[in-house]
Amino acid sequence: MAFGREVYVIGVGMHRISGAPTPVRDMAYDAGLNALVDAGIEFDTIGALYNGYAMAGMTTGVTLAKDFGLTGVPITHVENASATGSSAFREAVLSVAGGHARCAMALGFDPSPGAMMSGGGGGMSAMSASFFRPSVEGVILPAAFFALWAVRRMHEAGTTVETYAKIAAKNWNHARRNPYAQRQADHQITVEEVLGSTMIAYPHTSMMAAAVGGGAACAIVADRELAEQVHDRTGHPLVQVVSSRSESERYTPGHIFMGAVVGPSELTRTTSRAAYEEAGIGPADLDLVHVHDAFPVEELLYYELLGICGAGEGDKLVAEGATEIGGRIPFSTDGGLIGRGHPVGPTGLAQIWDTTIQLRGEAGDRQVDGARNGLAHMMGAGSVCIVHILRRR
């Protein structure tokens, strides 16, 4: 994307991710209002609204926007599976970059599985029926799909199950410092605990799997003039979106057309390369990274595919603790999908929330010292890859 105009994140907000059956209307309003308050603006400043949700029913986004006010703002529903929130954010960025709006809101929300089962989600009945009906083209659950990646990685690179457990434990422990995280352990999680939890699909245990709950997250972007006005009022450092890239699959040898949750891992390499080029930086310039760590093998592979280290060197990063807060390049600083949770619609926007407050220096006891550049990566089933790079000015 060529940025016709500079784009800045001027406000972010969250509603805690959890298994509680809170109505999406309440969660989305909470996250959206938090973002408006964070930016110090009212809803009539918003020139475009992009709602990201995968599990809530038709018209949900337009209906709940009425809680913010009736301003005539154009409203669009965005869905890209796990990358729904990232896609909504990208649409908001594009609308400002292209000059269609001075200020745009991306609002991601989805109900918890408990709420969906009790009828609060809207779309779960149809979804569950089609998801579990016997079919030749049935997609296996992500726990099994990424287990195939994990077993292959163990075969090719000698990765151990303990390495996967160490990544998961790191993200559980990062989540302990995030009040909006779904998993709030009351003690430091150990590798042994992760290994001892329920086996789901070898080598994945339940504590290695993304937490699946409901929640909401919001980010508001604006052009430079408005961002500077907000900066003058709030004192928040300016956080610029210096890259927004999205790709779908290209053909690769051994391409799996059927049954794959996501496409070739190469997709992350090509999308991030384009993002680095657009931002004018390289992986060595990053201070923190968020990825689609639904399972630890993903985070491990993304270290390499994002160029943080060379091929086959990810295990060494884990052994050195380089991706922990305080390490050379912290990953999943808010707990990631494993610790913070993966409510689908809000997930990519939760990454933007954490990246923004990290770059502002407002992340409290999980703050990455001197953070200037942050990258947020998401995969969406189907599949797509979306990468954003944010920079503190």
Binding site: G19, P113, G114, F131, F132, P134, S135, V136, E137, I140, L141, P142, A143, A144, A147, L148, W149, A150, V151, R152, H155, T198, M199, I200, A201, Y202, S206, A209, A210, A211, V212, G213, Y251, P253, G254, H255, I256, F257, M258, G259, A260, H342
Partner: protein, 140 residues
């Protein structure tokens, strides 16, 4: 007598007198000299035409897993523990499918053959089958 039927048309053909194993139905692009599975409407590389091809009924195991508890977060599906894997066919096609056997039966790189797996029954009580892979045995 219980019959075995295709769960869905268009993905594979049942064993017959000439072939004792099921075979997958893929597409071949002459322009790209590539095979694909399942069938494509046109070549995803050249956008040219493709033709149906029956693919090899043997391949090599690329990866596997054993699903103990079919859950993701709190979302779970019914069913017994089972294997899933990816198998590379000689045509360059990688197929993701159920694996027959038990945990410990599979190793990456081992030869696999195509077989049938009954997944449900229809109103007449006949078995509706999909395809699955199992390790190749002596005599296969």
């Amino acid at each position: 007598m219980v019959e075995r039927k295709l769960l869905e048309e268009g993905y594979f053909v049942m064993p017959d007198a000439a072939h004792r194993r099921p075979r997958l139905v893929g597409s071949y692009s002459a322009q790209a000299d590539e095979h694909f599975f399942p069938r494509r409407k046109r070549c995803p590389i050249t956008f040219g035409p493709v033709e149906d091809r029956l693919l090899s009924d043997e391949g090599v195991l690329y990866s596997w897993t054993w699903i103990e508890n079919m859950r993701y977060g709190t979302m779970a599906s019914a069913g017994e523990p089972h294997g899933v894997g990816q198998v590379d066919l000689p045509e360059g096609v990688r197929v993701q499918a159920r694996l027959l056997g038990s945990k410990g039966d599979w190793e990456i790189g081992m030869p696999m053959v195509l077989d049938l797996l009954a997944v449900t029954t229809d109103q007449a009580g006949d078995e509706l089958c999909t395809y699955a892979f199992r390790p190749k045995k002596e005599g296969d």
